[in-house]
């Protein structure tokens, strides 16, 4: 009886909240031209940032400060996993070796998966994608290795150090902007040095976007691999 009452009450509350939310949503002009800032980006992106991919330009350049934050969020996630799963003697405990198809496929594919990941983040200012998907693709290569071979482990100490160094690299790029252009995360390569101005649409353009996306790609790749490593290993008692 009580549970039915409780459930009824929950449903009624949900309906009320749902109706109220729908009211709000229906008031947002959907599909109409509501682009204050958006239009500005579209009009000025090429000349101001040198990127053909406007999304990338917004993510890394116009709103690069947010991206620095997002990179930090991922860093915290990997640090948090590392802190909570910490143990003195953690080893891999998987017993079943991967099948022939998996091991052979992995051997053949891993270099190409890494190459493709690198391609995605290096071309972030030209094509869809960028540091985050590129890094995730690279981490997939390591995940494949973990699945195929029971003994495999990443050099996690080196990965951890790389993660820290590239993270510092991002902040340092920002600080160089502060020193040269007077603003934190200022695009000094495009706006002060003027590199690649007649190269728009090709690889060597886009100011510091490829630099930052390379940093992010390496960082995301090492971080996600580190998380996989942490989650797969178990504390072993001697």
């Amino acid at each position: 009886m009580v549970s039915i009452l409780k459930r009824g009450l929950a449903i009624i509350i949900l309906l009320v909240i749902g109706y109220w939310l729908a009211q709000g949503l229906s008031g947002v002009p959907f599909g109409q031209d509501k682009m204050l800032v958006g239009q500005y980006y579209l009009n000025h992106v090429k000349q101001q940032t040198g990127a053909v991919n406007a999304v990338t330009a917004v993510v890394v350049n116009y709103r690069g400060f947010d991206t620095l934050g997002e990179v930090t969020v991922l860093f915290i996630a990997s640090t948090g996993v590392g802190a909570l799963l910490w143990g003195k003697n953690r080893k891999r405990t998987a017993r079943t070796e991967g099948s022939v198809v998996l091991t052979t496929g992995t051997r053949l594919l891993v270099p190409f998966v890494i190459l493709f990941g690198a391609y995605i983040f290096i071309h972030g200012h030209l094509t869809p994608g960028g540091g985050f998907p590129g890094g995730a693709t690279i981490a997939t290569a390591f995940l494949l290795l973990y699945m195929a071979f029971t003994m495999y482990e990443i050099p996690y100490k080196a990965f951890e150090k790389t993660e820290g160094i590239v993270g510092m690299g991002y902040v340092v790029v920002g600080l160089i902007g502060l020193a040269i252009g007077g603003y934190f995360l200022f695009d000094w390569i495009w706006q002060t040095w003027g590199w690649g101005h007649n190269n728009i649409g090709r690889l060597f353009s886009g100011g510091f976007i490829p630099v930052i996306y390379t940093i992010i790609g390496i960082k995301v790749g090492t971080e996600l691999s580190g998380i996989i490593d942490n989650m797969l290993k178990e504390e072993v008692k001697e």
Binding site: V28, L36, Y62, G80, V171, F186
Partner: protein
């Protein structure tokens, strides 16, 4: 010096957190000293920013990437942000000292990174002038807080962290939907421009968006009924982290709430949201005080007391008057001081005597007199005894509440204060008049910190004018939205 260098407040903690993996081999002591050094540098920069803002009277606008708002993201370090960034840095510094005694569980390198990033997240939340950037910094703060809550790796810690994570996750999604609604209705994410356009939004959309944002932030700001995670998390987290939660993490959430609330004050349905918030805040105070009464664990008891005082701050902000906001800011400052003092004292007792149960506090006056003195001052102040700092801010909040006409809320808050007095005096009684015990050695730096904080508590209590004038300026910074809009150099995109 150029105001843009205030961006170092963000850059330095980030850079130094990323640097930790490179020095992790040097041992625990080295890493803790490193954190101490970084927080000291951060305090120095924050002090410079504070001096700059309060001496020129102009906010520092940090423009990230050189893109003028609303195209780029800006930080707005006005009176309020300058004051609270300094508090965040100082509290982090003091807790970095406490780390040496209180945190022994491995891995210290990860703890150091999370510690620095918690400081960074709160600093960013307070400084930012962009509503999506606020979300990013909120995520940084929240996710570090989840990880740090579980850091002790006990069963309770895991449970507390999971609770926090679920509620925090729901809160963040609410917040994000709210931001999306407001972005959909205005086409901008810059807070100043949102404030400019707020009057033109469809009132229903504005109400729904604002309410979602407030609900999302209420998790971080520990408002009833979304604060179920808080006592568990406070109890389970490492002691320095608990003090940081109470001193500035919850404050960052409260500030964000107040800021967004007042930015939208030109919305027609604004007063409905205020009324909802007044009810939530009053309930927070009452429920938390009565829960505190039943606790046997002193750390948990003070956690409840902290929640109730946070409710008081939220009440002050929800009044919608200048007097209310000023009083709320004043209470925020005072509360930060005494909660650091109390959690430091209680945490130190827990470290020395093995646990924060009330049993350990019997005869504390003989065992650890300096710590006992610190806790006593903190307790007296928390209750609101005259000539201690909280007395003035509580008084002002209640006066402001009466001015607006919420007599019932003022009455309930006063009644809750009586309850608060009961359990705090019970604690003080246990410390000085019960039990026996041998003298236990006390660490000199921690005693110095506690005595300094106690002196500050009494100094503000006897001479509140200086702190009050600073709080008034900081309050005006939140309340006076027209000035806020004027201070941000918006380039005329679309407006």
């Amino acid at each position: 010096m150029n105001g843009q260098y205030a961006s170092l407040l963000i850059a330095i903690p980030l850079l130094s957190a990323f640097f930790v993996p490179l020095i992790k081999g040097l041992g625990k002591r080295a890493i803790k000293s490193y954190v101490l050094m970084i927080t000291a540098i951060q305090t120095g920069i924050a002090a410079w920013v504070f001096k700059e803002v309060y001496s020129t009277g102009k906010p520092i606008i940090v423009i990230a990437g050189g893109w003028k708002p609303p195209v780029g993201i800006n930080l707005y370090i006005g009176y309020f942000a300058a004051l609270f960034i300094l508090i965040v840095a100082v509290v982090s510094f003091l807790m970095a000292v406490f780390n040496f005694k209180a945190v022994t569980i491995e891995p210290i390198d990860k703890y150091a990174m999370l510690f620095l990033l918690l400081m960074l997240g709160a600093t960013g939340m307070i400084a930012t002038g962009d509503i999506f950037n606020l979300f990013v910094f909120m995520e940084i703060t929240a996710i570090t807080a989840y990880a740090l809550t579980a850091y002790n790796k006990t069963g309770e810690a895991a449970e507390a962290s999971l609770k926090y994570m679920i509620l925090g996750g729901i809160g963040s999604s609410f917040f994000l939907i709210g931001v999306a609604l407001i972005y959909g209705a205005t086409g901008t994410l810059n807070m100043a421009q949102i404030a400019q356009l707020a009057g033109h939004i469809n009132p229903t959309v504005a109400q729904v968006g604002l309410a979602l944002i407030i609900f999302g932030l209420a998790v971080e700001a520990e408002l009833f009924p979304l604060n179920a995670w808080a006592p568990d998390a406070y109890q389970a987290a490492p002691h320095p982290v608990t003090a940081m939660f109470s001193a500035f993490v919850v404050k960052a959430g409260l500030y964000a709430m107040a800021r967004v609330l007042y930015l939208m004050s030109s919305v027609g349905t604004w007063h409905n949201v205020l009324k909802l918030l007044v009810v939530m805040a009053t309930l927070t105070v009452v429920v938390a005080e009565f829960s505190a009464l039943r606790q046997r664990n002193v750390k948990r008891m003070i956690a409840y007391s902290s929640i109730s005082q946070v409710g008081l701050i939220a009440l002050a902000f929800a009044l919608g008057t200048q007097a209310g906001v000023d009083a709320g800011v004043f209470q925020m400052v005072n509360h930060a001081i005494i909660k650091v003092l109390l959690f430091l004292g209680v945490g130190y007792v827990a470290v020395q005597l093995g646990g924060a149960d009330i049993e350990n506090f019997r005869g504390l006056g003989r065992k650890m007199p300096a710590t006992a003195f610190g806790i006593t001052i903190g307790a007296m102040a928390a209750v609101g005894v005259p000539l201690f700092n909280i007395f003035w801010s509580k008084l002002r909040i209640i006066l402001a509440t009466l001015q607006v006409g919420y007599t019932w809320a003022a009455f309930l808050v006063l009644a809750a204060s009586v309850v608060e007095a009961v359990y705090y005096f019970r604690l003080v009684h246990a410390i000085w008049f019960e039990g026996e015990g041998e003298r236990v050695g006390e660490s000199v730096p921690l005693v110095i910190i506690m005595i300094a904080l106690a002196i500050l508590v009494i100094a503000i209590g006897i001479y509140p004018n200086y702190a009050w004038s600073i709080s008034q300026k900081a309050g005006a910074d939140i309340f006076n939205v027209a000035q806020y809009i004027k201070n941000v150099p918006l380039m005329g995109v679309g407006a």
